[in-house]
Amino acid sequence: MKLDRLKLERMNPKAFVGVGSLMLAFSIPLILGINTYLLTVLIILLVFIIYSSAWNLLALSGQGSLGHAAFFGLGGYASAIFANSLGLPPLATIPVGGLFAAIIGVLIGLTCIRMREWFLAMVTFGFAIIAHTITAELSWLTGGWNGIPAKRLIPVTIPNYIVYEYYIMLFVAVAVLVVIYLIMKSRIGLALEAIRENELEAKVMGINVTKYKLMAFAVSAFFTGIAGALEIHHFAYITPEVYAIDISFWPIIYCISGGLFTLEGPILGTVIITILDEGLKHLGLTYGRLILIGLILILVVIFLPKGFVSITRKIKSKLSSGHIPK
């Protein structure tokens, strides 16, 4: 008993919070029963946690993309088309969607490597619009503006399919977060941060800037494609709306409000903003909620540049400075 307490006290508080929230996420369907609305919101929440964490990984290398919806949509379309034409189950085609997005990601990355922040933002934004047009125009393959049906992740005929879907999403999200955590902690993560802080110095220190920037693009596009494929196999339908400008902007809002360049920032931002968004939607504020979210974004950029994550850090440092050691 005493040993256990000691162990708990020694444990990293961050890991403690992580394990706690994972256990909470795991037990939600067990505690609250099968609430289709709630589980749907949570499934989308998990999709966007994957998506914004992937965006954050690219931002870690100093490359702020304004067109990640392109990868989100490409992953979704690739997976849907593969599943439909080859008769494969969605779980088998979702990685194909991710891979397709990653290949395109490397191609886009190749054009972006030499560019400065604004240029890269513009090119990625433009690429989402180009992907939108091309997808809508290739109607023999993509169904044009009407879109195409996609297979459901778990067929509706199976009882409690939504619970299975939830656990699949949770599993993928945790797996993606673990991979991103390992990348951020590794030499690759350090190299990306060095490139963000000062590209020239990083180059002088012997970091292969091109290689690492492309790697960031590929990994980020891969996970974004997976998130897109997961979402459309949940909704069982895909249209070119998946490339909407909003879809590109949401992960940015989540990451900034949560805390850029951290593992927990995108998660925290996605959870807080989604709860706020859903709550205000229920109050009937169609545009009011978006005005508020815009205002929050502006205020966070000006007054809290490290995001919500830094609030807990500030409180912690205040508490520990006031704490009298025994």
Binding site: M115, M122, V123, G126, T133, G288, G294, I298, V301
Partner: protein, 303 residues
């Protein structure tokens, strides 16, 4: 292809180009002086158009006369955006500017949607039924007025920048901020002035767009702003002649290229429409230019 149709499309492109140039010049000025990029510039275009719409609807004054008032209102809004938004984050990183603009885009678009709904609106220009006939083609008078107004604005802007003290001070600030400060120029006032001028030009672009019979809605600003940004990248950051040439080229290319692609497809026996590709063309051009020359066509190396 009928040459008359071709010229008509050319004029249409010229007119679209004028709107892009007005936006691009403003963006370029703000970038030059402050070295920040306001992605929410298109929202000022949208608000300017709405200002003209409401003032005209309630007072029935000729919309061309309302234009200066809309420009003044947007100039004031631009000063507020600069003081409250961009000044506090200056020098904290390029990504922050992009994020702040994103917040502004959400704020303004949804504020307008909240106040006046998302439905498209338009006004009837007093000269809407008048058209000029030249040879075999008919051109709406409004298009000609817009082209002339844009030229007047450009000449006025150029004179202001070259001949007046504030204009010269702004150019000095954009060349070297520190040296300008040492010469006794109040650079922060120049920041405000550049935002005011840029916003006024954006409002002019939006108002002219509305007056010429186009539909306006809360989301109209995003695509023109991004195109204006593409123009200043192609034309070179900070280069005003570059922006004019690139703006005209883009306006014309956008309108001629789908037609060209269509006749090319017809030549090979396909019958396809390429009008949906209009917005895409700007970005294809942008990406090709940036791959070949990462600093733009007329841009100088570095900052």
């Amino acid at each position: 292809m009928d040459i008359g149709i071709f010229i008509q499309i050319l004029v249409w492109g010229l007119y679209a180009g004028c709107i892009y140039i007005l936006l691009a010049i403003g963006l370029n000025l703000i970038f030059g002086v402050m070295k920040v990029v306001n992605f929410a510039h298109g929202e000022l275009l949208m608000l300017g158009a709405y200002a003209v719409f409401w003032i005209h609807t309630y007072s029935r004054i000729d919309p061309y006369l309302v234009l200066p008032l809309a420009m003044l209102l947007m100039a004031l809004l631009g000063v507020c955006i600069e003081r409250l938004g961009f000044r506090p984050i200056m020098g904290t990183g390029k990504l922050n500017e992009i994020f702040l603009s994103l917040g502004l885009i959400y704020l303004f678009q949804n504020l307008v949607a909240f106040l006046w709904s998302t439905s498209s609106r338009s006004i009837h220009s007093p000269y809407g039924d008048v058209s000029v006939t030249a040879g075999s083609m008919k051109l709406p008078l409004d298009y000609l007025i817009i082209i002339i107004v844009t030229i007047v604005f450009l000449i006025g802007f150029q004179l202001f920048m070259k001949k007046t003290t504030p204009g010269r001070a702004m150019r000095a600030t954009s060349q070297n901020r520190e040296a300008a400060k040492l010469m006794g120029i109040n650079v922060e006032r120049m920041d405000m002035l550049s935002f005011a001028l840029g916003s006024a030009l954006a409002a002019a672009a939006g108002s002219l767009w509305l007056i010429s019979g186009q539909l306006i809605n809360p989301y109209m600003g995003a695509i023109p702003a991004i195109k204006a940004f593409a123009i200043i990248i192609i034309g070179g950051l900070g280069s005003i002649p570059g922006a004019i040439i690139a703006g005209l080229t883009l306006g014309i290319a956008e309108n001629v290229a789908p037609l060209f692609m269509q006749s090319l497809a017809n030549l090979f026996g396909f019958s396809m429409s390429f009008t949906a590709w209009k917005d895409t063309i700007a970005f294809f051009v942008l990406i090709i230019v940036l791959v070949l020359r990462p600093t733009g066509i007329f841009g100088e190396k570095g900052e």
